[in-house]
Amino acid sequence: MSQFVSFVLPGIPYGCAYALMAAGLVLTYQASGVFNLAFGAQAFVSAVLFTIAVRAGWPGWIAFLVSVVLAAPLIGVLLEQVLFRFTRTAPPLVKLVPALGLLIAIPSLVQLVIGTSARVPSSLLLSPSEVYFHLAGSPVSGEELSTTVVAVVVIILLALLLQSSGLGLRMRAVVESPRMAELAGIRSERVSAFAWGISSLFAGLAGVLLAPIYPQVNAANFTALLVAAVAAAAIGGFASMPLTLLGGVVLGIVQEVIAGYLPSGSVLSSGLRPAFPFVVLAMVLVSRRSLRGAQPSLGDPLAGCDPPPPSLRPPARMAEVAIGSRVFAGVLAALLLVTAAVLVPGNWEFTLTQGLVLSVIFLSITVLTGLGGQISLCQATFAGAGAFAVGQLAAHFGTPVLLGLLVGGGLAAGIGALVALPTLRLGGLSVGLLTLSFALVADNVLFLYSWSGGGGSGLSVPRPTVAGISFASSSAFFWLVVVLLALVSLAVRLLGAGTTGQELAAIRGSEIGAASIGVNVNRLRVVAFTLSAAVAGVGGGLYASLQQSVSPTDFNYQFSLVYVVVVASIGIYTVAGAIEAGLAYTVLLQLIGNLPSRYSSLLGLVFGLVALSYVRHPEGVVEYARIWALDRAEQLARLLKRHEQAAGS
């Protein structure tokens, strides 16, 4: 019994923090329809501010006022005002991408401005390390006690606020239809901004409460906090506040108890504790009825009065302009390739190769999201499966790399199909969260065994040899990658233009309509996941062969998030967009690598911020620029034609 209590007690502060942030998630989701994954980053900001203030010698309560009561709601309201109020009726991807961008950009910004900070033992109310009393023989420290007390008080205050003021009801009205709510006399902008302020305060509070408990104040810890909170919110069905709070607390406690009873030293014991919330999240998403079978939400009842959303297909062009742009793109690509082969110095050749390899992985997102309209936050995991397959086959059986790539692609495809099955009846947001939880389970458990990710030291991977010709030199490998990328690009294009692509386009337009003409929607969703995972697996295997080694951290979940954000911001609907994204990412990475190391987080900042443009330009910034340029070219062509006609007559 006393042992059990000693495991339960340290779980309570975690549980309280999970519950607080989960309450914030549910509140914003209910009030604005946005599932704000950026709360993880917002919690991080408050934690950093608090830590800095305390280290500067400020009294704890002033540090608390500044970091939680002032800064956190300010950030929340700011985000709502400049960004999220425009996404209210948008499809899930448009809501998700900016939040992911912020999740990546905000910590990058913090690191750029402030740098990393070590923890400071501190607590809000009581002296942190003093033991106030014993519970069944276990000491209760001021740290644990103050965390619990603060969380409970704040949650009671929220409950009173929602109950007494009728605010909860108004919030529900605003989610249903902001304009209808306004017709009924509710100031929906204000309600929404208020919800964002309150829930950001909760996120900041959760961050500050956990800051002293984590060994280090770094962004990854707060992303883990976020996912645990997401699991708690799922337990509450993204709607019920009491269930959400209970879920958060229980999750925190069970997590610690499991970690306490598992034998120490094995992969399971070190991995299961961080992976536990994700396992819960996956189970809840798959089993909870209210989250299943839900068709994409109907949207605003008044949406019929709005002009239709702009079409994402590129407009048809005049023949001259269409041919001209193709010739231009072809010449540009040829020039680039020749330059790469002749002029480019060694380290840049590696960078370009890396960019093209990454383009292969990015094409998997083009297939799944661009063609299939589905969101996956585990593409790096699929890539990792391919990479480890290539590495293990080469190490144990001496399998040639190209054959390994095929097997790796096949393995990833199989995993993709398995991941797709439980997502079949879920809506966009839930699919994203389910794939994210799969990625985290893979990171923390599946990839840590020596038979999968090669254990701590990773695997060494050879460069390919085909029919006696070695592609070990970097320039030979570059050309091999060019050929493979061309093949995959062609396959994706043909897929999009063929029956499968058209059926997927139909499903993207309307799943109900597609089924009414006889399309087996479930089968096609699995097909899209399978093909996408296969492409990612091949790309991952190539990546391993390029680096000549691979370890589990090369494909952790953060890469999945970054991949989606990068591709979505450059252009998720075209093959060209994926290649541009791959090149842009690695070239920028290389340029930043030349700067002093404190600028290393610029990359995340740049792409995170570019992703914010996704709200206005879901076609991607490069695609938008291309459409703009072609519009101008078309105007010019028309003008020239008119001149010719005038001259002729």
């Binding site: 239709p308 959303p309 079409s311 994402l312 297909r313 048809a316 396959a491 043909l494 897929l495 233009a497 063929g498 029956t499 499968t500 692509g501 058209q502 059926e503 386009a505 139909a506 993207r508 337009g509 309307s510 109900i512 309509g513 597609a514 089924a515 009414s516 003409i517 006889g518 399309v519 087996n520 929607v521 097909v527």
Partner: protein, 252 residues
């Protein structure tokens, strides 16, 4: 034997009985109108037949085959085409593309390996057939315009054309005339008559415009609070006292 035989269908949502032992038969090439006040269960009955809702009790036999347990896409492949009260178009695609993908799905000739070999693009024959169907509903002039640019009336005609692809045996239309102007309404009536005459397609029509219904159907079924209160020839049903009370109102 009837083309469609739905017998004793009951369906309740929570405590509300949407359908109470409804029996509906549609012979092949017959046109049946389904009318009744809003909330009478017309759309629920539609959804049960098309497969979007499973009835609590009862049996549905289509073309001699029990289809109760089949998914909507399987029922569509058996020859049930339908349109929707709320548009379910493929946003971002043109009317022509709507028909091309529908043809390919109906023919069942699409294969992944064909796509990857570049054999997946529409053939000339498929294009001709699609153009023919577009002409049938009078949409030739907007074949290549994104559907988001069409008026509500013309968008409904795209749905009708999409449902007509592959000559379904039963065409189910859910309030096809709402949002249509007079000219489009006449085109709709002409199209329904023509597919019946030329292809022997049976039509099941939910519609509030009784003039339009009378111009198309042979038989009228009236639903009220989940029950069939009248079933028979158009003139007879419209004259029946119960129908007047439940649906038409005394002024009619």
């Amino acid at each position: 034997m009837a083309l469609l035989e739905a017998s004793d269908l009951s369906k309740s949502f929570g405590g509300i009985l949407a359908l109470a032992e409804v029996t509906l038969r549609v012979e092949s090439a017959e046109a049946v109108g389904l009318v009744g006040p809003n909330g009478a269960g017309k759309t629920t009955l539609f959804d049960c037949i098309a497969g979007w809702t499973r009835a609590d009790t009862g049996r549905i036999v289509f073309d001699g085959r029990a289809i109760d347990r089949l998914a909507p896409y399987r029922r569509s492949r058996l020859g049930i085409g339908r349109t929707f009260q709320r548009l379910e178009l493929f946003t971002g695609m043109t009317p022509l593309e709507h028909l091309l993908v529908a043809e390919r799905v109906r023919a069942g000739t699409g294969r992944l390996w064909k796509d990857l070999l570049g054999l997946g693009r529409p053939t000339a024959a498929e294009r001709d057939l699609a153009a023919e169907t577009l002409a049938l509903v009078g949409l030739e002039d907007v074949a290549d315009a994104p559907v988001s640019t069409l008026s509500l009336g013309r968008a409904r005609l795209v749905e009708l054309a999409r449902a007509l692809v592959g000559s379904p045996m039963l065409l189910m239309l859910d309030e096809p005339s709402s949002g249509l102007d007079d000219q489009e309404r006449r085109a709709l009536v002409a199209t329904m008559r023509r597919v019946r005459a030329e292809r022997g397609t049976a039509v099941l029509l939910v519609e509030h415009d009784l003039d339009l219904v009378s111009a198309v159907v042979d038989r009228l079924v009236v639903l009220e609070t989940g029950r069939v209160i009248a079933d028979g020839g158009v003139a007879g049903v419209l004259a029946a006292a119960g129908v007047r009370r439940a649906y038409l109102g005394p002024a009619r």
